[in-house]
């Protein structure tokens, strides 16, 4: 640089806009800045669509497929042709992969407890004898229902197969036995999770869970990042208000959240055939509200946290109860009262009601205004705390 060139002329003080236009412009300044930074942060930018997709696939498939060839143990001391025909019929459903045959109940229990078998088919010792005598013996199907979705398909298949299983065996003098429905009954014991939840509940729930996680992560570090990169001091010395900083920092991620929502909805309906019974507009606008609520919570964390690690920890402490107490993992009204009270203070609880109702039952705004109001209140309270907590000086 030459000496002449290096002497910048001070421009006369540039004209400034009116007060309101200036406030808007400051929010815009922050918005543009954050957006550029997000775009330059390649891994993060690539994951805007990547993270929800991967999560949806992982969770969706793990939960949703109708799994077959489930490891099964047969507990029996009856070696009659009738028993063998029964087992053959169950095997033919493709749901049961009979891996173990055992005589001891303790052995069978151990197989289930160690996750080696998901089902135990128990044929009582005198099953054939009782059957022939027409005493309607019971076949016991013990299911590990801790994964209810996986178990339910198999159970249904078992019940169906059993009816025709013995048609070929019961001939001659025994033919009269097969005239009525079935000459025996199947008793199903669901272990660990007698209620069993349907898979339709889970995909809408996933939308809420995934959005909670991604939205929290995006904003939870936005203030601490400025502090750790040393840009906060210059920012604080500029005439910009905490509320303007907040709005400018949250706004780009509302766009990101909308993109994620669209991705999840499209993929969910393509891969998992989850319909949207209600209005797409209702769903989108209430989801946007939910996105804003989560971004506000994340931003609040970032004004409270001293560094990025703390921000991450806060996010985690919020995310965990959101998963557990919102009704995502366990039926909300099956939880103890105290857990329900805690759940009412989580945005995900209200969003799950919204998203399940709109997607599965076709509920409208009018049906959901309480939950929508709760989300709006949540966003407002979080934003107020964030603005109050924002440290405007370095004291």
């Amino acid at each position: 640089m030459s000496a002449e060139q290096s002497l910048p002329n001070v421009a006369p003080r540039p004209a400034r806009r009116g007060a309101l236009a200036q406030a808007w412009q400051r929010v815009l300044a922050m918005f543009v800045k954050e957006f550029i930074q997000l775009r330059r942060d390649r891994p993060t930018f690539a994951m805007i669509v990547g993270i929800p997709l991967i999560q949806l696939m992982l969770f969706g498939y793990a939960i949703n497929t109708d799994p077959k060839h489930l490891p099964t143990a047969v507990l029996t001391s009856d070696d009659s042709p009738i028993a063998r025909a029964l087992i053959g019929a169950l095997r033919a459903t493709d749901y049961f992969d009979i891996k173990y045959v055992t005589r001891g109940e303790a052995d069978a229990d151990k197989l289930i407890l160690s996750n080696k078998a998901q089902f135990v088919i128990q044929i009582p010792p005198d099953f054939s004898r009782q059957l022939v005598r027409g005493e309607k013996p019971a076949l016991l199907l013990i299911a590990d229902a801790s994964d209810p979705v996986a178990a339910s398909g198999a159970i249904a298949a078992a019940l169906g197969a059993a009816n025709q299983a013995l048609d070929r065996e019961l001939i001659g003098p025994l033919a009269s036995l097969s005239q009525n429905a079935a000459p025996y009954e199947i008793r199903v014991h669901r272990r660990y999770n007698p209620a069993g939840e349907t898979r339709r509940n889970i995909v809408p729930g996933l939308i809420g869970t995934i959005l909670t996680m991604t939205m929290l992560m995006y904003t939870a570090m936005s203030v601490t990042r400025e502090i750790e990169r040393g840009t906060m001091e210059a920012l604080l010395a500029m005439p910009i208000l905490p509320v303007e900083i907040m709005l400018g920092k949250i706004a780009p991620y509302v766009v990101v959240g909308a993109v994620q929502m669209a991705t999840i909805l499209i993929v969910a309906s393509l891969l998992f055939q989850v319909p949207v019974v209600g209005s797409l507009f209702t769903l989108s606008s209430l989801t946007l509200l939910f996105i804003i609520a989560n971004l506000s919570v994340g931003y609040t964390f970032s004004t409270v946290a001293v560094n990025q690690l703390q921000a991450m920890q806060l996010t985690f402490f919020f995310f965990l109860p959101s998963m557990l107490l919102s009704g995502f993992l366990f039926p909300f009204y099956g939880m103890p009262k105290w857990a329900q009270y805690v759940g009412e203070f989580l945005p995900l609880t209200h969003y799950l009601r919204i998203v399940r109702s709109v997607m599965l039952k076709g509920s409208t705004f009018g049906d959901l205004f309480v939950d929508a109001g709760a989300l709006a209140a949540f966003a407002l309270v979080a934003m107020s705390i964030a603005v109050m907590r924002f440290r405007q000086t370095l004291d």
């Binding site: 640089m1 000496a3 060139q5 290096s6 002497l7 910048p8 002329n9 001070v10 421009a11 006369p12 003080r13 540039p14 004209a15 400034r16 806009r17 236009a21 200036q22 412009q25 400051r26 815009l28 300044a29 922050m30 543009v32 800045k33 550029i36 930074q37 330059r40 942060d41 990169r229 040393g230 840009t231 906060m232 001091e233 210059a234 604080l236 010395a237 500029m238 005439p239 910009i240 405007q392 000086t393 370095l394 004291d395």
Partner: protein, 309 residues
């Protein structure tokens, strides 16, 4: 309008503690409009803390004052509008280009046409060719130039520059100071902290702070005169061992090596003259009475301040 008042900085008794440590103690300073005020002091003496109080980033524990006529405790918003603060480290966005950084600043200050303002600044700074380069990729000299450009973009009336030339080569430093003088002639007031003597000598006024206390302030001749230091320049062989010996002689307050010479000074003129006489009588070194330099005075101030640290 208070912005145009004749005294740009007027603070009295500023005090700030972090925990039990008094970092700035009873700091008082007046700077007239259009002046360049140098701000010197050893590391950790409280320069940055003082500057932060001036621009409203730290609240003083006690003391009061005004910048550009605005109360530093109550009118931080106005101060932020009209004071440009250049932080000690680079504090613009490294992942934004030069142009994007300047546009950000222009928008935050509510300028009429932020894109045009940024373009104008790029031209004034000679940064047009690098406009689309990421700020984090610039060399130290260009970073400093960009920071100054961002500070003056909104047209401030007071500039607070915290060690703006640290780690910058001599040519860029010279250019930078030409620029500061140019700004001052246009009516800007500049307070600049530095560790370099040559930069101190280009200021209209100087304040010297150590351990949070203002030890000297005023013009350079006034500070030198106020130090009452009688100084001798010693040349010859074996200056290093002579220097360590002299430090413990009664009457000697300051010993410092400058190139091939040793500067020896004392506040008690008669005692200092006796030492000079005694040593020059040995005939090994040449002793010559000379005017103290600004640096002699600062070394003396620093030695004295170090004693009660």
């Amino acid at each position: 309008m208070s912005v145009e008042s004749d005294i740009a900085i007027d603070v009295r008794g500023l005090t700030k503690s972090f925990g039990a440590k008094k970092v700035v103690d009873n700091f008082t300073l007046q700077v007239a409009r259009g002046n360049i005020q140098g701000f010197l002091g050893p590391n950790g003496s409280g320069k940055t803390t003082t500057i932060r109080m001036l621009c409203g980033l730290l609240t003083p524990d006690s003391g009061e004052g005004r910048c550009l006529g605005y109360d530093i405790r109550r009118q931080q918003e106005e101060i932020k509008r009209y004071v440009g603060y250049m932080t000690q480290g680079f504090s613009l966005y490294r992942d934004l280009t030069i142009r994007e950084n300047l546009e950000f600043v222009a928008r935050v200050y509510g300028l009429e046409a932020p894109e045009d303002a940024a373009q104008g600044a790029l031209e004034r700074l000679g940064l047009v060719a690098r406009a689309e380069q990421l700020a984090g990729e610039l060399s130290g000299g260009w970073k400093q130039r960009l920071s100054l450009g961002a500070c003056i973009l909104p047209g401030p009336s007071l500039l607070l520059l915290d060690e703006p030339t640290a780690g910058v080569d001599p040519k860029a430093r010279r250019d930078f100071w030409d620029e500061i003088h140019h700004l001052a002639t246009q009516g800007l007031t500049v307070l600049v902290s530095t560790h370099y003597m040559d930069e101190a000598e280009r200021c209209h006024q100087i304040a010297y702070i150590a351990n949070g206390r203002l030890l000297a302030s005023g013009t350079i001749p006034a500070i030198i005169a106020g130090a009452h230091l009688s100084t001798w320049v010693v040349t010859g062989e074996g200056l290093d061992s002579l220097g360590s010996e002299l430090k413990y002689q009664p009457g000697v307050d300051m010993v410092a090596r400058f190139g091939a010479a040793l500067h020896v000074g004392g506040r008690d003129e008669a005692a200092m003259a006796r030492v000079a006489q005694r040593y020059s009588a040995e005939g090994v070194h040449r002793w010559k009475r000379d005017e103290p330099t600004l640096e002699d005075v600062f070394i003396d101030l620093m030695t004295r301040a170090g004693a009660d640290q």
